[in-house]
């Protein structure tokens, strides 16, 4: 008799992992972590021991999940936009605007108060999502209806948010950094949202009719148009979803420490751009994007802790670790395939 388990598990796994590429990514990451764990346990006094101690500590897990939330969620959003044919490089801007608005709304409501029974911090969370979605909506209209160049419009989204958020913070709070709310969302919420969003995105992209339409809109919009489905509606939906998901990511980032930091590159610090790398690295597969996002966030968290250990390596050099990894990874990958019509405007004939 055949083992019923074999029939049950393998197809699901295969579907989820989808390609050899993503599989090797996952195996590689797990493998590196395993080696680290073993060597760390064997030689606790060495650098490897230190590293292993950092990587497998709860605080690193917490900080990884906090840092991973914006990367993975914006990355998932980026998949929806790009699969539909609109390259959204404004993810960074969407993260910034939602990070600020979430804190702002929460402070306006006032910690301790509720709206319709929803605690202020969660009202702020929803506010952040709304702001990001609205900005994505504007981006969508500019790109889809007015046929603006997607790259330039995306940069505009980033620059607008980069300027606007610290400015608003100065107007409302008297400084580019908002005061701390004194309340925050635990890292387990972020982690849960990331996992739920990843699975839901995967389902939406691969199992629903909407996912198929999205893919067709990005690959051959004419094929979709000729079967009577509006390409621009599908693309708007893709872009709005990138706003919703980035909004969750940005709000989670800011509310997990209860403050918006607007100095320099703001607290988002290029996570929106890393998100683009993450979904390309994951080859437009939400599961791969999750893996890539966690990898980068993990490196970032490790890097922060490494600085604290005080090796004779300049901090600035240690800070570059995640970015060096990004470059190496991109150089090694080079296999992702952009949707055929991504970046192209579509005009119906009639």
């Amino acid at each position: 008799m055949r083992n019923p388990l074999a029939d049950l598990t393998i197809p699901v796994l295969d579907d989820l992992i989808e390609s050899d590429y993503v599989r090797s990514l996952i195996v590689g990451t797990v493998g590196v972590l395993g080696v680290l764990l073993v060597f760390g346990a064997l030689f606790p006094e060495t650098v490897v021991g230190d590293l292993s101690g950092i990587v497998f500590s709860t605080s690193t897990a917490a900080s990884t999940s906090r840092l991973a939330a914006p990367i993975v969620l914006a990355g998932l959003g980026g998949i929806f936009a790009e699969k539909s044919g609109v390259i959204n490089i404004g993810l960074e801007g969407l993260l910034i605007i939602s990070a600020f608005v979430s804190v702002y709304v929460a402070s306006v409501v006032g910690i301790g108060n509720t709206v319709l029974g929803v605690p202020a911090i969660w009202v702020g969370f929803l506010g952040g999502i709304a702001a990001s979605t609205a900005l994505a909506g504007v981006f969508g209209v500019v790109c889809i209806e007015f046929k603006a160049d997607q790259i330039i419009a995306g940069l505009a989204v980033w620059l607008i948010a980069l300027g606007l958020a610290p400015f608003m913070s100065t107007v409302f709070f008297g400084g580019v950094n908002t005061p701390n709310l004194g309340a925050r969302i635990g890292w387990r919420y972020s982690a849960t949202m990331v996992v739920v969003a990843t699975v839901a995105s995967w389902w939406a992209l691969n199992r629903t009719a909407f996912g198929k339409h999205l893919r067709a809109a990005g690959e051959n919009p004419k094929a979709l148009d000729t079967v009577g489905i509006s390409v621009s509606k599908v693309r708007h939906a893709g872009v709005l979803l990138s706003g919703v998901l980035s909004g969750i990511g940005g709000s989670a980032l800011a509310l997990s420490i209860g403050q918006f930091i607007g100095s320099g590159e703001t607290m988002v610090q290029g996570k929106g751009f890393i998100a683009i790398v993450a979904y390309l690295f994951g080859n437009y597969n939400p599961v791969g994007t999750l893996g890539a996002g966690v990898l980068f966030a993990g490196l970032d968290a490790t890097q922060i802790r490494l600085q604290q250990l005080g090796y004779a390596v300049p901090d600035t050099l240690v800070q570059t670790i995640p970015y060096v990894v990004v470059i190496v990874v991109l150089a090694l990958v080079g296999r992702t395939r952009l949707p055929e019509a991504a970046g192209e405007h579509y005009e119906t004939e009639d």
Binding site: A209, K212, A216, E219, N220, A223, T226, G228, E349
Partner: protein
């Protein structure tokens, strides 16, 4: 009984143009109807009216006697009219079934899940019912063009189409796939479907259609039963004057050896050997034809000869000098003209105007370039002279290449290349997508070059073209010449066998492959012409 489709007095005006002028068309249920005409005759406009893309300015469309008014293709689909476009509307990385059901996916779980099993089954059922032999789970990018076309047909059938419109369905197919398509037509009409296809190829209309309607300048010139007419009749209806169907070649002694290719081997882009040891020579005043199903190494052979691909082995001698490995510019400078197979990819820069396109390849040379500057006046004069001599429309040197129809783009490229005053012309599919009137003109120009003592290497998948124009005809199969034959005496069956990779045992035909036989053969084909 009412005809399945009846278009009554259709007039379609665009600003400044009457695309269809009071056209009547009636198609019986279960029949195949060909809509024949030159490029720009209004065939596609008429079908776009039937498909709901355009609203007619005047006239009515009846389906089964019921008057219809379509606002959009969606309405036409709902009324049972399906269109298979020339450029397939398929999503390459998706599977066959995903493409077929796109936009009409069966759903379960309250719409949250596409019912894949139901979709797959529906596609498999349809495929089986019409004998299509299509795997629902194959990816579009992995299947042949012929199969992709069937997927398009399946898409229309899945949406309940009774009337199928096909726009130039054979343009992208190999001869074998064309035969298969005719089989599909029969299967479909047997089961009560009605087929209308657009074409500008006479042979296609004659062999596949029950009835043929010819359009010229937007007017219905006549509807005839395909059994009652000849190619010549149809050509005359299409063009409006008598057309010489077979180009008249005159016997001619070949002169100096222009090109000699010895044991040439070349790989394709994936590194798989595509040309496997080809040898031939070509003399001045000679047309050497290469026939074969597309994708048997023709592209790589031509690319090697024209300097776009480095051969892995073998030598190419051009006018007495070794040529393999030389740059493209060197090839052009030494007088090798090239009509590429893909005019939009390699022949023209689509966003350049004709003045700019006209000097491509000559941009280094006087009179167009002097002291590192381009002389736009000379360039423009050159473009205008090509436009005039080769009847390129619209006759405007400022028009961008992408604004020209495919046939006119092709005429412009042929003009540019022929006006280089070349010693050797390498012409790949020189008349692909060109209407009969222009084809005749281009053929005449090729033969004029031959008469001027130029050498011509002609590669075409149109058998009648290579056969009619060549002095010697090679047949290529999987990177090798399966035979070099005398086009005047060889039969279509023999060529078909050679194209399929079989070699003919006949010594006399094999003998034609020898270089020394070239002169005799030219004489032979001359006799043939006199007899004919």
């Amino acid at each position: 009984m009412n005809p399945a489709v009846h278009m009554d007095g259709i007039t379609k005006r665009f600003p400044g143009v009457v695309a269809n002028d009071d056209v009547d068309l009636a198609v019986e249920r279960g029949s195949v109807h060909a809509l024949l005409g030159e490029n720009g005759a209004g065939k596609t406009t008429l079908m776009n009216v039937l498909y709901g893309l355009y609203e007619p300015t005047e006239g009515t469309v009846f389906l089964d006697g019921e008057p219809q008014s379509f606002d959009s293709p969606r309405d036409a689909i709902d009324a049972g009219v399906g269109m298979i476009h020339q450029h397939f509307m398929l999503v390459d990385p998706m599977t066959v079934w995903e493409n077929v059901v796109l936009g009409n996916e069966p759903k379960t779980w309250g719409g949250l899940r596409v019912d894949e099993d139901a979709a797959r089954e529906a596609v498999a059922d349809l495929s089986e019912r019409y004998g299509f032999d299509v795997d629902p789970d194959a990816r579009i990018e992995d299947v042949s063009v012929g199969v992709q076309q069937r997927v398009e047909i399946l898409k229309a059938l899945y949406r309940g189409a009774d009337v199928l419109i096909l726009d130039e369905p054979t343009a992208v197919l190999t001869p074998q796939e064309v035969e298969d398509l005719y089989g599909v037509f029969e299967e479909l009409t047997d089961q009560g479907k009605t087929i209308i296809f657009i074409s500008h190829k006479l042979s296609e209309a004659l062999s596949a259609a029950d009835e043929i309607t010819v359009l010229r300048d937007g007017v219905n010139v006549g509807t005839v039963a395909s059994g009652d007419v000849t190619r010549e009749d149809l050509a005359q209806m299409m063009v409006g004057r008598e057309v010489l169907m077979d180009p008249a070649t005159t016997p001619q002694e070949p002169g100096e050896r222009v090109l000699e290719v010895t044991d040439l081997r070349a790989d394709d882009d994936r590194g798989v050997e595509a040309v496997s040891g080809i040898s031939f020579e070509l003399r001045a005043g000679e047309v050497f034809g290469v026939a074969g199903v597309d994708g048997n190494g023709q592209s790589q052979l031509v690319e090697s000869i024209t300097g776009m691909r480095d051969p892995t082995e073998g030598s190419i001698t051009y006018l007495g000098e070794p040529m393999a490995g030389e740059s493209r510019r060197e090839h052009i400078d030494r007088g090798m003209a090239f009509i590429p197979e893909d005019r939009q990819e390699r022949g023209l820069v689509m966003s350049y105007d004709l003045t700019e396109n006209g000097i491509l390849g000559s941009q280094h040379d006087p009179p167009f370039a002097e002291n590192g500057r381009l002389d736009w006046r000379a360039s423009r004069d050159h473009a205008e002279s090509v436009i005039e001599q080769y009847d390129v429309r619209p006759p405007n040197a400022d028009a961008e290449a992408e604004d020209l129809s495919g046939g006119n783009q092709q005429k412009f490229i042929v003009g540019r290349e022929f006006e280089r005053d070349p010693e050797l012309v390498v012409a790949m599919h020189p008349t692909r997508g060109v209407d009969i009137g222009s084809t005749e003109f281009l053929h005449d120009r090729l033969l004029e070059l031959r008469a001027e003592g130029k050498a011509v290497l002609l590669i075409s998948s149109k058998l009648d073209e290579v056969q009619g124009l060549s002095d010697r005809l090679a047949v290529i199969h999987e990177g090798e010449f399966t035979g070099v034959v005398d086009p005047g005496t060889v039969t279509e069956e023999e060529i078909g066998l050679l194209m399929a990779g079989e070699r003919l045992d006949d010594d006399s035909v094999e003998g034609a492959a020898l270089h020394d036989a070239a002169t005799d053969l030219a004489g032979d084909s001359g006799d043939e012409e006199v007899d004919a």
